[in-house]
Symmetry: D2
Subunit: 360 residues, 4 copies
Amino acid sequence: MSNTTQPLKVAVIGAGYWGPNLARNFATSDLWELVAICDLDIQRASALAAKVGHPAVVPNIDQLFNDYEIDAVAIATPARTHHGIAMAAMAAGKHVLVEKPLADTTKAGQEMVDTAATSGLVLMADHTYCYTPAVLKIRELIQSGDLGEILYIDSVRINLGLVQPDVDVFWDLAPHDLSILDFILPEGLSPLTVTAQAADPLGSGKACVGYLSIPLPGGALAHIHVNWLSPTKIRSMVIGGSKRTLVWDDLNPQQRLSIYDRGVDLQCQELTNEDTSDRRNASISYRLGDTWSPALEEFEPLGRMVTQFHSSIQNAQESPTDGRSAMRVLSVLEATSRSLAKGGRRARVIGESLRLAEAN
Amino acid sequence: MSNTTQPLKVAVIGAGYWGPNLARNFATSDLWELVAICDLDIQRASALAAKVGHPAVVPNIDQLFNDYEIDAVAIATPARTHHGIAMAAMAAGKHVLVEKPLADTTKAGQEMVDTAATSGLVLMADHTYCYTPAVLKIRELIQSGDLGEILYIDSVRINLGLVQPDVDVFWDLAPHDLSILDFILPEGLSPLTVTAQAADPLGSGKACVGYLSIPLPGGALAHIHVNWLSPTKIRSMVIGGSKRTLVWDDLNPQQRLSIYDRGVDLQCQELTNEDTSDRRNASISYRLGDTWSPALEEFEPLGRMVTQFHSSIQNAQESPTDGRSAMRVLSVLEATSRSLAKGGRRARVIGESLRLAEAN
Amino acid sequence: MSNTTQPLKVAVIGAGYWGPNLARNFATSDLWELVAICDLDIQRASALAAKVGHPAVVPNIDQLFNDYEIDAVAIATPARTHHGIAMAAMAAGKHVLVEKPLADTTKAGQEMVDTAATSGLVLMADHTYCYTPAVLKIRELIQSGDLGEILYIDSVRINLGLVQPDVDVFWDLAPHDLSILDFILPEGLSPLTVTAQAADPLGSGKACVGYLSIPLPGGALAHIHVNWLSPTKIRSMVIGGSKRTLVWDDLNPQQRLSIYDRGVDLQCQELTNEDTSDRRNASISYRLGDTWSPALEEFEPLGRMVTQFHSSIQNAQESPTDGRSAMRVLSVLEATSRSLAKGGRRARVIGESLRLAEAN
Amino acid sequence: MSNTTQPLKVAVIGAGYWGPNLARNFATSDLWELVAICDLDIQRASALAAKVGHPAVVPNIDQLFNDYEIDAVAIATPARTHHGIAMAAMAAGKHVLVEKPLADTTKAGQEMVDTAATSGLVLMADHTYCYTPAVLKIRELIQSGDLGEILYIDSVRINLGLVQPDVDVFWDLAPHDLSILDFILPEGLSPLTVTAQAADPLGSGKACVGYLSIPLPGGALAHIHVNWLSPTKIRSMVIGGSKRTLVWDDLNPQQRLSIYDRGVDLQCQELTNEDTSDRRNASISYRLGDTWSPALEEFEPLGRMVTQFHSSIQNAQESPTDGRSAMRVLSVLEATSRSLAKGGRRARVIGESLRLAEAN
């Protein structure tokens, strides 16, 4: 279907919010030829096409697969339509890139992953943050052992967001945090349970303020705060390690990452002075070392992502945001919804092995 | 025991971490005469006495109550000793100010409150934040209706803290947040349940990272993040209202409070366009108004607090941080511990009426 | 040459650093048709053309004026070439938009302005900041009297900049500050003198660090700090007024403008207590009022600028960044260079009336 | 007058703005015994004495020198009185610490320095910043060569300040910056000339906004911005070096110092491509390395300062803020006033050698 000298041919399906970003990056990549924009709203598709070198404009996917020779599609439509479009695309022999989340249920997602595996096609999620300089550096620092063991991760992603018609604040924003966790944690994202708290104080019918707790190996804890109602925008993540702690402030371009050689060391000695009222007698010690902020390369993450999509197809190079990674994210999202449905009680995450067991 | 022309006489019990702050404020207040510093560690007591005008130095409370004529005591010893000292003080007819938390159990706290009520003595908690210019202004803005209905409150209080020998991170830090909530919320702090998540990734034997969710009236949610392991210090609170949202950044002296006339308004119209992939079709609208930061008076909160203690005694003026307020804080702390003990399940808050019912 | 129903036709000359921004904005404006990109470096011109809807690619201006029917040109080439290209364009009857600075000498600039006036063509400078929401709001606040009389203006524009082959740091960066001053000051920018200090500590042959003092009416002072060698980026302006003070932090998208109702009021009383060592006896008083941050519209300034260029041509609507405004900026830049040449002594600004007098 | 086992005896003269800070630090130092507070305003002196362990209260220096046995005095009175008090103190055989600036003229200051030298007494200026952890670290980083050659220094010290009855903004605030420069620069502060610009837009009779340019060796430039009229407080210093650049933000306790391994390297190649409009062809290269923020010790600078005063007396240990250092600061201040008097023209700094020559 493709060879090493020719760029691969791709169509972008969905010209709404995210499609233009995908289209622009495919259009400016030497590895890709953007053949078509597909959207029910022809006017919107045409407007986008005009900005990215005038690829064809197609109103539906039947026509797309019938009339155009393409290798792959990039799907940027509402989550509930991902499954149908992706299955049709794979049935037509196309590789598939899907905007997050992969699907609106794990059942649908698993079918997509299975179909890709069976048919030898690439199925990849557009988890954009995994292609940013900051997240790549964080992964490197964790994997090199510079931070030590992970003690806790606290992620905050809040701003005056657009209350979505079809998804709640977890399904809208948390895929970012979850895909990042899956990417940076040595063992990936595979909690057994999660606990979620949420509020819908406007009565919108869905959670607008949400908190998600995810136990990590070794007694560590990840916590995610997502919020559509905050007038200030915060995108930060603190990763506490036994050696050092990393703070990622994505809205501070002058110092996105700070690594603090500072922390608490626990000593094993027993306290014997029972009568003390002095706080300083605790059995711990502090390191108050330097702070370090690594220089980061500058590149557009989506450019890296479309390159990865190409490599995955051309060279069978595994993608860090492949279908199975996307399923781990989806499993946690679904468990989050179950926790909310149970009034904030702990909910089991049904991971791959469980799904297989249940399926059999 | 006192008249309007003479200052009241007070002793500070405990010369450790917080006692010096209390001693300094009593010493510089015209309303008070600091008579004695009491601490088992005489050297420490003497060092403190030397800095605050050389009051007497006393090694224990028996001697204090026997040898000195005082109207009141201020207790700044470890939480587990508050009950014993306060009960002895009230038995000796002294008014009592107690460092937060009021006691280490609600049972102990309730006994203190009951004893104060029976004996006509003032029992007050040193919830210092309730006397800060920022919190006083926040309370005013909520009570005047400027923020509208409260939708959510998100409080973060993290820094490289001192792992305490006797209490976990909730009991150490959350009294601040809880007493503030009790003070600023029109209905006070009286949730039926709370849910807590925590981690002790260092194996210290107690929670070092904690998250607490508190349902508020009308579907609103308060959430508190306390953390001893963060290399960066954050003390912030976001109070989302239906009209405006307030952000309190206590570490930004140049702009502690910001009020955003910005938010999300929900419309009641139904969405009919099912096929949209455009995020902008949601049934909401946005206000993107100005931001406003009120000028705050500058004064030392502890100065206000010792003045309030004086008024409560002299003029029977009710204190916003009286024993009953402190009990509401304590009830939530105890429920937090119960939630943790149950692995993060929702725990009932046993408030005053329940305690009364259970006691009968 | 044009009518109200047809878009005007424009060519962008120069496909280097700034040309692409101009080309993109002309390409996406309904008022304009981007007909050609002109650059000696055909490859660069073609690459740009591919991104903006494939206008024609032309290697030189002779060919441009001969072969293409255009109404206007936008010049984004090095400053020393502006005069030649603009004069040729006006000779060919084209309206002209020029990247800042208008020219590399006031003599050249004046000739351009005079030619435009004589031939009835529009000559406009691309002083982009004058089309930003922040600067438009600042102008409004000054002109409405909200700030009171201007007392001082302090502008800082520093970052790790590109040491330019042909211009020093003043000619590179200060046109921004100067054009903003010309736009926001009620009387425009027309100082009689300026004083400049500079350093070239790398021995690059031109100033890399510069300070410029500009006396304003009524004893006020404007001061500009431009610097290519700063590792941190700052773009801020403080405008002190007799009523309020405005701080513009262009790198803080969440609060670009802050208006402080805070300041110093001078009283006329005489000090009589000669022996005081107390600083608080000074004959002044302070206002410590609120801070206010107006919501700003969001739009792309260059979009507004190309719209203004269109209005100036079509409707003879005067532009705030017309040739005469650009000449005031150029006059100050030239005086800055003269001050530097004299070792930092005060240099006279040769404004329009002086130039006219000297020319006669 | 003193021996190694007894603390030295000191009196603080002036109980206004700064005296209390000195008194508190002498009172809490084991090396000193605070014997008396001297102020014409006895009430003020008494109030201060009550807070620092009840030393004697004395209304004038005659009585002080007659009635009390002291080794040293610390002078915190208005600048114009420093000379008289210090001369009287030295005549009485006392060592002298003087609040900045040393005196109100270099003539007066030189007489003080000469007298101290002749009489073998210590004369030291309270240039507090030279005893802060940040400035000590900056000095270390410069002297170790970590920053390379100094290219420029830009200091900003602005806030809503108290318009002083007797001094302008330079004499009030710039002693801080100048004493820091004298302390951190390998060669100290010894410019041949300075140039100052200022404004008095309120008509207060003295400069309220000021800019001072100081040429440094090797074509480098130091620039100081002092301002009493700014509603926001900034205390920052950028020190550009040939290897690294340091940014000191004194109001950011979490990251006061940042060292950027980032900068511009100039190459010697000639530019030949005359026709380029591309900014990237300049003959320079950029380093975009990491940022590093050293941990700083925490201690009170005035505590260090009174210790230094003790060492200088007891052990004849030279002080970094001795009279000669203070004279270098004073010489620049006086030249600043001369530059202002000449309308901002460059003014010669009359340093020690010149003063000696002129005196002979």
